[in-house]
């Protein structure tokens, strides 16, 4: 596939570029166009989440936590509805399916764009498969804490983050409890829903872009 992103991301601050680096840049761009190489590293695209007043980076994990009925699903749906065109296809994965798809429509989400998966004990595996296919712009993962805790959660999340990075997809983890502070979780954005205001509060925002 042709990619023009590296060309657009050129830094224009270099008024007199070094001939050697200029050649390398040109070579990188050429390689990127011909598909020989990934080219120079490009910055991640971000989509602004109005509800959370925070950007969501593609290829990263975003955690939205909150007790039942606190509005985390609605918050994510609003984001998906606002960026439906940019995100394209979406996968909604739950270990036990409790979502009510008709409730998605009021957020402007087109159901025909969503592949629903009820993964049971294989929810994480299903998420990896979905990300590996590289055809989804957003993956929403809703699972009980026990599904993740049976393994090494930080390693599992790291693997998920790598898959997300490769597929360039926005991955949302919906949980009831936020991941505890003090551990370097591979989460670019960590939000917690306030049940009273039904608004997300930012617990962590990664500086990586």
């Amino acid at each position: 596939m042709l990619s023009v992103a590296p060309i657009l991301s050129l830094d224009s601050s270099h008024s007199t570029p070094d001939p050697e680096s200029s050649f390398q840049e040109k070579l990188g761009r050429l390689q990127a166009i011909t598909g020989v190489s990934k080219g120079p590293p490009q910055s991640r695209e971000s989509l602004f989440w109005q509800h959370a007043q925070a950007p969501v980076l593609r290829g990263t994990l975003t955690e939205v936590s909150g007790p039942w009925g606190s509005g985390k699903t609605e918050a994510v749906l609003q984001f998906l509805g606002n960026h439906a065109k940019a995100l394209g296809r979406m996968a909604w994965i739950e270990d036990r399916f409790t979502a009510y798809p008709n409730g998605f429509l009021q957020s402007g989400v087109d159901l025909s764009r969503i592949l629903f998966i009820e993964g049971g004990k294989q929810t994480l595996w299903a998420a990896h498969q979905v990300l590996r296919s590289q055809i989804f712009g957003a993956v929403i993962l809703f699972m009980q804490e026990s599904t993740l805790s049976t393994r090494e959660p930080s390693i599992e999340l790291r693997r998920l983050q790598l898959s997300a990075e490769q597929s360039h997809a926005c991955v949302f983890l919906l949980t009831t409890q936020p991941r505890p502070a003090g551990v370097n979780w591979p989460l670019a954005l960590q939000l917690q829903m306030n049940p009273r205001t039904r608004k997300p509060e930012t617990l962590k925002r990664s500086l990586v872009s």
Binding site: W68, G69, S70, A99, Y100, L105, L115, F116, Q122
Partner: protein, 481 residues
């Protein structure tokens, strides 16, 4: 019949095996003749053109029969199918000869007409069997004392056309042409189906280790070769078989068969589906006898067992439609293999008010991003667009006790929540439908749905049923998560 050497052999089998075995039988007889035709309808028959073969006239029938027997025994050993051999100048009479050695005494019947006119059963037999003039003509001939084939063959052709029509005339000509050679017959030649097989053989001194990564690495090469061959044929694989040859003592090879839920043509898609199967085979071998880690793999053979028509072989230069469709198919196949076919679905909304009946799962199809305009999905107005709907729905409504503004959950409930004070009720929204589905004795569904905003924040969605005095039970049906 003349004393000339027969030109056609008909080998009639008493069993009617499956399609694969039929092909296997037909292929086997290529060792005797290069011209083979197969009658797949019962009785299963293989026709061989014997012309040009080194034939010894002396005791030809018995020697040929022995040859066929030996061939079948060599291939199927003790399970060799029983057969009858017919030899004649053409296929029709060879078939007749196999069923009845003295053809002169064969009784007239509609089946006989059908078999002689169309020995290869390429036409629909029912047309001949139901021919009115043949059905009515045979009893008349019997009444006139003409009961056998030889007696019928002596009738003058001119008298047959009026009584038996075109079919009878053709039949009589066929009988009289018994001595004519196979040159006058159009044989539906049997051609073996093309087999797509790729294999890798390893040096016994440097065999492949029985590890998942090694097996996947080697399988990938085979699948890539097969993918190229499939692409050239504009086909996709729907079933594959991997034969693993190893040096295990009691068993020299293992077979792994994989039926793909959606046909695939890319090596990566097929490999992803094979990964779990190979991993399972290795684990099973280890738990069974610990052999997998010790045994050496000497060869791999990958075969495409079934194919399906593929997408266009030309790749779009500007879009990734084909790649995405391939990835989509591969993903669905992997999910169906590991989970369940019904575990991955897309949703279709149904214009009904009852929440539990307002949607259904359907088989996923690839959503073409460019094909859909914004206006299309808003064109259908469904009931849920008239009022807010929750994002979570319980599979069964849960009865909560409602008392003085409090909702109390039953003790043994697995649903989250125990006791909530309701700060505000929003509603009601009456839903009354489905009366046409219920019998006369059942009461109609009439629910007054409320959105209950709890003091602590959560928003519930449920209903009261029946008259006002029954407002002690609030049926929780979902929540606005």
């Amino acid at each position: 019949m003349s004393s000339e050497l027969p030109r056609v052999a008909a080998i009639v089998f008493s069993d009617q095996p499956d399609e694969r075995k039929k092909s296997e039988l037909a292929e086997l007889f290529f060792r005797l003749s290069p011209v083979v035709a197969l009658r797949s309808r019962a009785p299963l028959t293989v026709f061989l053109d014997l012309r040009g073969l080194p034939i010894t006239p002396h005791q030809f029938r018995s020697s040929f029969e022995l040859k066929v027997q030996a061939l079948l025994r060599r291939r199927f050993s003790s399970q060799a199918p029983a057969f009858r051999l017919g030899l004649a100048q053409n296929a029709a009479f060879a078939f007749l000869n196999a069923q009845s050695p003295s053809s002169d005494q064969v009784a007239l019947s509609p089946e006989l007409f059908a078999n002689l006119l169309d020995p290869f059963a390429t036409l629909d037999a029912s047309i001949l069997l139901k021919d009115r003039r043949i059905k009515e003509g045979i009893p008349l001939l019997e009444h006139l004392g003409i009961q056998t084939l030889s007696e019928f063959s002596r009738l003058p052709l001119e008298s047959l056309s009026a009584r038996f029509g075109k079919v009878g005339l053709n039949f009589a000509r066929r009988i009289q042409d018994a001595q004519r050679s196979a040159d006058f017959e159009a044989w539906p030649l049997w051609v073996p189906a093309e087999r797509l097989i790729e294999e890798l053989a390893f040096d016994p001194d440097r065999p492949l280790a029985a590890r998942l990564d090694s097996l996947l690495f080697a399988s990938k090469e085979l699948l890539e070769r097969l993918a190229l061959r499939l692409r050239a044929r504009a086909a996709r694989a729907s079933a594959l078989r991997l034969k693993i040859r190893h040096d295990k003592k009691d068993q020299s090879e293992s077979l792994l068969e994989l039926r793909l839920v959606t046909p695939q043509s890319s090596a990566s898609g097929m490999l992803a589906s094979f990964r779990d199967r190979l991993s399972g085979w290795l684990q099973k071998s280890e738990t069974d006898d610990g052999i997998a880690t010790e045994c050496r793999i000497l060869g791999l053979e990958m075969e495409v067992l079934e194919t399906a028509p593929g997408r266009g072989s030309q790749r779009d230069f500007f879009h990734r439609h084909e790649e995405q469709a391939e990835s989509w198919d591969s993903l669905l196949a992997r999910l169906a293999e590991k989970l369940d076919r019904k575990s991955r679905f897309q949703v279709k909304t149904i214009p009904r008010y009852l929440p539990e009946k307002s949607w259904c799962a359907q088989e996923p199809h690839l959503f073409e991003l460019a094909a859909k305009s914004e206006a299309t999905h808003l064109s259908v107005v469904t009931p849920h667009e008239l009022a807010m709907r929750p994002t979570r729905l319980l599979s069964e409504p849960l009865a909560l006790i409602h008392h003085e503004g409090w909702l109390r959950w039953p003790e043994n409930s697995a649903t989250p929540g125990r006791r909530q004070r309701i700060a505000r009720w929003i509603g009601p929204e009456r839903i009354e439908e489905g009366w046409w589905e219920r019998s006369a004795t059942e009461s109609p569904i009439r629910r007054d749905y409320f959105r209950a905003i709890c003091d602590s924040g959560p928003e519930l969605w449920g209903y009261f049923e029946g008259p006002l005095e029954n407002f002690q039970l609030f049926f929780l049906h979902g929540y606005f998560d």
